[in-house]
Assembly symmetry: C2
Homo-oligomer: 337 residues x 2
């Protein structure tokens, strides 16, 4: 493949590369007519700018790296779409990688992206990540990096978060107000800040209403549908059937709901359900699943915006934390009849 370069154009027009370069970069010190001529012949010759070279001299790639734990739920794709929307219009390309919830792959991704000279990073940590030294160094070095959803308090960088505590509390209170007494919480992966926050919301809602939560009411697992199924099976086996379940995500709730239904339990009469991070599936399932809706697009957009801010302001950027709010969508799965 023979690329046409700026030199070829210069030669053809009997001018210098500087002039041609000027034409493309909207520089003021060039005659409008020559500029147009350059642009025209460039088009005719099928010229395409070589980003590598440009980036090399400008020391920026106009690439943004995104690292997410997974792709299978619609949550992260939606966040990514939000970010892309902002970044794309500013001329940035987005490199997306996934860590598969694995710390080593996550680190490999980050480093690989750094090698590609990304101008900044948007990252949501894997559930396995408990060592944040690398990120601390990165942040300290001034590299533009924004964390979203899954992060650590200790990291002194900009963050876009969801108010997990508040909405977990609302969700739980909703169940309590419906009159449910024996409410279980499926907290997913225990160690994540977001899980802890949701659990805290769950606990405080009980406290507020002077209800006591027994340890066995909070159950740890993974975040997938199968995890929900397994928990439900075990509960049925032990014949410890909750009134209601507040799950840390829709997948867990749906998995469990299916098992309960299969075993003859009625939803919400026997067991009520409320999920989190509203997914499309939630509205399809029978009965439709109540859930807390997170502003996925908004998260992506805000994170992207912060990143652009950081890139533009350089060293003297002051990190901020944005906490977004959601919405409690009550559906049939949690309404006492």
């Amino acid at each position: 493949m023979k690329y046409i370069t700026i030199k070829d154009i210069a030669k053809k027009l009997n001018t210098s590369v500087s002039t041609v370069s000027r034409a493309f970069n909207d520089k003021s010190d060039i005659n409008v007519k020559t500029k147009e001529l350059v642009l025209k012949t460039a088009k005719e010759m099928g010229y395409r700018q070589n980003r590598m070279a440009k980036n090399l001299v400008q020391k920026r790639s106009f690439n943004i790296g995104i690292v997410v734990p997974e792709f299978v739920n619609s949550f992260f794709p939606e966040v990514i779409m939000g970010a892309q929307e902002i970044l794309f219009e500013k001329g940035y390309q987005v490199l997306i990688t996934q860590s598969n919830e694995c710390y080593t792959t996550e680190l490999k991704n980050v480093q690989s992206l750094e090698n590609s000279m990304v101008d900044g990073l948007l990252i949501s940590l894997s559930s396995e990540t408990d060592n944040i030294d690398y990120y601390q160094d990165l942040v300290k070095s001034g590299f533009p990096i924004i964390f979203f959803n899954r992060t650590y308090k200790e990291i002194n960088a900009s963050k876009v978060l969801f108010n997990d505590y508040k909405w977990a509390m609302f969700a739980t209170e909703h169940l309590i107000r419906q009159g449910y007494k024996n409410i279980y919480h499926f907290q997913g992966i225990k160690t994540l800040t977001l899980s802890r926050e949701r659990r805290r919301g769950f606990m405080d809602a009980h406290r507020k209403h002077k209800l006591i939560v027994e340890p066995h009411q909070v159950i740890t697992s993974g975040f997938f549908m199968e995890d929900g199924e397994n928990i439900a099976k075990k509960l049925i086996e032990n014949n410890t059937i909750p009134d209601a379940i507040f799950a840390a995500n829709d997948q867990l709730a749906i998995g469990a709901m299916n098992i309960f239904k299969k075993n003859g339990y009625k939803v919400p009469k026997d067991v009520a359900f409320i999920g989190f991070s509203e997914s499309k599936m939630g509205s399809i399932v029978e009965p439709p699943l109540s859930s807390v809706k997170q502003p996925t697009f908004e998260i992506g957009k805000k994170a992207a915006q912060l990143l652009l801010d950081h890139i533009e302001s350089g060293k003297n950027y002051i990190p901020q934390t944005i906490v977004l709010d959601g919405q409690l969508n009550i559906r049939a799965s949690s309404q006492k009849i």
Copy 2:
């Protein structure tokens, strides 16, 4: 941000940049001891290779571009994951873009990726794309590009396809064998090759069983759940209720199913359903949706492999078409009781 370069290392070690470069590139003409020394001090100094520069001289980026129409269904994410698996282990980075089913964005994506000097392209065309001149030129120029799922016969490049005809036929026959007579087909976007193939399967299944299909039994729409809902509403309005519906994807089927259920129709007793491109939702819905399962990961893997072949063999690459097979998963939504 001050990057440490190969020059810095050379200076510190009192050697030449050539030697340092050799150390990193596993060249034979370097002493093992100096190599180790270079590698060690490079690590100490926190050296990170500049991809831009490397790519510039080597004229390849080790980046692969992927263009997909959308992100919201799990189909494309899964394909991407398959591709990533193959590409990642060969040291390639993946740049993902989405066209939002819009031709102009698609083209912009492709060009932007070309500017980033991607070594190759994996693409599934938007539903809007009817002008393939650009791709024809690209293919003719020898640029490595592999089409998957959505493509045009006319393009002379490697393709990874699904045997839509065959499995549409199987799906339809399954319904016919169950005794359904008045079967409708929701074909989605009419113009896509894959839609045409699926419709052809639908028609031929009827022909084979000596059944006649009236034009009104084949309905065109978009590919989203809302489209399915709208069709169902219209059918109910006109009181033309099919025995069974074969939808070109799960979303259409689920959308329609929900509306029928809401209007008091029983599934599968009053209306039976079968979808296509099995989605997670299909197994959650009540009753579980029969569907044709596509080997999503496999599609991504195969496409990536073809692309690597193409990149490696260069000009004398001979395009191939791989047609993959799927699986018919029969569930309650299509079983006559």
